[in-house]
């Protein structure tokens, strides 16, 4: 790493996402003298104490209002619950901090629009933590699509689902008033961002989900359509479903396991499938020119590279991979999906249960 003045970082929200995902990268960057964690903000003293073990010089405050102004803070990681992101991001930006905010940037597109204005007004970086932009598999798929290897009229199918395993400290993600929705907000932000990145602008044509009464969706299926591609996106956080991205066009077909970082599979028309190595690399150091580049091998590596990109954006004004504009587009699509949500067909249930699931669907309940 080059000789820069260490960036003083505030961490707003000290929950599982920081401890489980960001901590190794932050410690690594701190060891290299690139950044210093100087401020921890969380309502829970216990959570702050756990992080303070790694950043003993950091001050701890329980309320973000007391956190700013705090002299000498250059940047902030906002990892509080999504419903608080707007307040926390805007406060940090207004104080003059560059901000890396965990996804989703906010729970409504109008909030994101306001946040973007604040970032612009204060000429600060606002980057969204969208780690999948560093997945070598998705980068390889993007390269194939960019090279038009699949040809025209691309159809895709993307499924992603497993049983939720995050060690969360509250049930906020499972309530509409605090989480903004269910799996579509949680995983959907990631997957929609990836699909829009890969296949270009698309809109939600149809949304089916399984929430009833005051529940939030545990499963959803969206149909998306755009100029160059159309397909379905299906998500679950309560069961193991097949996990893959498949796409086919007039010239070829690809199948991608997003979590397989070494290869994707491709075939031209009806020829046999072949593996294509993932070769994308991202800057892994802070030199302004010809930085060292690296290919991530684990999810933790992706987070590290995301931090390096954030630091490079702060230092050199490089464009952020996902900012307010991309987050706005994704959130707008989620809002469209929710506004038009219909009951998810579940033919394996008894006829009585299927009828009840349709009658109790949350949209119908909400419109009552």
């Amino acid at each position: 790493m080059p000789k820069h003045k260490p960036l003083n970082l505030a961490i707003i929200g000290c929950g599982a996402v920081v401890e489980e995902l960001h901590l190794p990268s932050l410690r690594r960057l701190a060891r290299r003298g690139v950044l210093r964690v100087t401020l921890l903000v969380d309502r829970s003293n216990e959570r702050m104490a756990r992080l303070k073990r790694y950043f003993p010089d950091a001050a701890c405050v329980q309320d973000v209002a007391a956190a700013f102004p705090k002299p000498g803070t250059d940047a902030a990681l906002v990892a509080s619950p999504p419903g608080l992101h707007r307040r926390h991001v805007e406060r940090a930006l207004a104080y003059g901090c560059d901000v890396l905010c965990e996804k989703p940037l906010a729970v409504s597109s109008s909030d994101i629009a306001e946040m973007a204005k604040v970032a612009q007004r204060h000429a600060r970086i606002l980057m969204v933590g969208m780690t999948r932009r560093y997945f070598p598999s998705l980068a390889a798929a993007a390269a194939l699509l960019q090279a038009r290897a699949l040809g025209e009229g691309v159809e895709f199918r993307c499924l992603e689902g497993d049983v939720y395993q995050w060690p969360i400290a509250s049930d906020a993600p499972f309530r509409r008033e605090t989480g903004g929705g269910g799996v579509l907000v949680d995983k959907g932000v990631h997957v929609l961002d990836s699909l829009l990145w890969l296949f270009g602008p698309m809109g939600v044509v149809l949304c089916h989900d399984d929430a009833v009464a005051e529940g939030v969706e545990g499963n959803c299926r969206l149909e998306l359509a755009g100029k160059g591609a159309s397909g379905t996106m299906q998500l679950s956080w309560d069961q193991s479903i097949a996990n893959y991205l498949w796409a086919k066009g007039s010239l070829g077909e690809m199948r991608v396991d997003p979590n397989e970082f070494r290869w994707i599979e491709f075939r031209q028309e009806e020829l046999p499938w072949e593996r294509r190595p993932c070769s994308a690399r991202w800057p892994a150091s802070l030199e302004a020119f010809n930085p060292k580049k690296a290919a991530p091998q684990t999810y933790a590596d992706c987070i590290y590279l995301q931090w390096v990109q954030f630091l490079r954006s702060v230092a050199y004004g490089e464009a952020v991979p996902v900012g307010a504009r991309e987050a706005y587009t994704v959130t707008k699509q989620i809002e469209t999906a929710f506004a038009n949500a219909e009951p998810l067909p579940q033919p394996w249930l008894s006829a009585e249960e299927q009828t009840a699931a349709a009658q109790l669907h949350w949209r119908k309940e909400a419109l009552k």
């Binding site: 401890e19 489980e20 995902l21 190794p24 199918r157 499924l159 689902g161 049983v163 939720y164 395993q165 995050w166 060690p167 969360i168 400290a169 509250s170 049930d171 499972f174 309530r175 269910g182 929430a211 009833v212 009464a213 529940g215 939030v216 545990g218 499963n219 299906q234 679950s236 956080w237 309560d238 069961q239 193991s240 479903i241 097949a242 893959y244 199948r255 070494r262 290869w263 599979e265 046999p272 499938w273 072949e274 593996r275 294509r276 190595p277 993932c278 684990t298 999810y299 933790a300 067909p345 579940q346 033919p347 394996w348 249930l349 009585e352 249960e353 009840a356 699931a357 109790l360 949350w362």
Partner: protein, 363 residues
């Protein structure tokens, strides 16, 4: 309307109970979970859930107060199962809940090798599987309370619980799609299946019967199904050529890396390490373990897949006999609403929904 507390409501069986109760209104359900993350499976119902550790009576009591029955579906640390089972029984007694239905496992006998096995046969105390040892120990602990009339305890022992969302469906389906599925000895071993909804209706039937008798009962689907039958039906629903399923000799098994890792995970040291390691540390260990294996080619033709056999697969697929269930039928009647064929149609519909059907990942 009966009020039933479901302990372990965040599991796939528990969530099915909550789904059924929410959609049919046949009974009033009280979902009880230990950690917030378990609420993910319940979030879509908009139900209120209670948080309680099954091993802590003082946490359980407010959750089960006023219930007609408690169904114990919890599965935490295997070594802690007996203590948790007793704590649940004590909480029922303290809150005057008259019936506890405890879900055990047919694996408490080991695989069914004795044709004369019956519901009250001795349990296999030294099973190689930590899960089965824990289940057997929990049963023995609860049997010590059978004479106490305050709470009737009905212990049910299903084999493999299958159907929509079941790991016993999603697992083979993924393997078949990837060309990694396998059968030992032509699949002639008995697959002791119990369809999820048959299990649910059996539990509801026990509760509806108003029994005040404690007892242990084996439970299973009515049909005798071999692994061949099961895999053939799954393959049909998935649109997979049955001939792509690898055929292995019945004795063709040796302890592999996965078994060694699983064995280490179940030791006291392994458990302590697992809870102490961060997510990224676990990722790095997984990565290091994967590097020990032969590096697969990253370019060129997609190579042929091979099965990854575990001791558990080998053990289960070599089962000799069907689990006898006459005692349950005599006490409560035949509560199995779904035949194997009906259940497989519904499972096929779920496989299609879950993206497994017509997904051929092999070259």
């Amino acid at each position: 309307m009966k009020r039933i507390a479901i302990l372990g409501a965040g599991g796939f069986v528990g969530a099915r109970f909550v789904e059924f109760a929410t959609l049919t209104g046949e009974f009033d359900v009280v979902p009880v979970i230990r950690s917030f993350k378990s609420a993910a499976r319940l979030a879509r119902f908009g139900q209120c859930w209670h948080r309680a550790d099954a091993g802590r009576i003082e946490e359980l009591r407010p959750a089960i107060a006023g219930c007609d029955a408690v169904v114990n579906l919890t599965l935490g640390d295997f070594d802690g199962l007996p203590a948790a089972a007793l704590a649940i029984w004590d909480a029922c007694a303290a809150e005057q809940v008259p019936l506890l239905v405890h879900l055990s496992s047919a694996e408490v006998f080991g695989r069914v090798e004795d044709p004369n096995l019956h519901d009250d046969s001795p349990l296999l105390a030294r099973h190689w599987m930590a899960y089965a040892r824990g289940k057997a120990a929990a049963e023995l602990a609860l049997r010590g309370r059978f004479e106490d009339q305050r709470v009737a305890c009905v212990i049910l022992r299903p084999g493999l619980i299958w159907g929509p969302r079941s790991p016993w469906v999603a697992g083979p389906a993924s393997q078949m799609a990837a060309g990694k599925a396998f059968l030992f000895g032509g699949g002639r071993g008995i697959c002791n299946l119990f369809y999820l909804d048959n299990l649910m209706h059996s539990i509801v039937g026990v509760i509806e019967s108003g029994t005040r008798e404690s007892g242990c009962y084996n439970v299973a689907d009515n049909e005798t199904t071999t692994w061949f039958d099961y895999y053939q039906a799954l393959a049909r629903e998935l649109g997979v050529e049955f001939s792509t399923i690898h055929q292995l000799q019945a004795q063709q098994y040796r302890v592999g890396l996965l078994d060694r890792v699983e064995g280490l995970r179940q030791t006291a040291l392994g458990k302590r390490l697992k809870s102490a390691l961060s997510k990224s540390a676990k990722q790095r260990i997984k990565r290091a373990v994967s590097l020990l294996r032969k590096t697969p080619p990253t370019s060129g033709p997609v190579p042929r897949s091979f099965p990854q056999v575990t001791r558990s697969d080998w053990h289960l697929q070599n089962t000799c006999h069907k689990l006898p269930t006459a005692k349950f039928a005599k006490a409560f009647g035949d509560l199995n609403r779904y035949s194997f064929d009906d259940a497989m149609v519904r499972t096929g519909q779920w496989l299609n929904f879950a993206g497994f059907a017509n997904l051929r990942l092999q070259p």
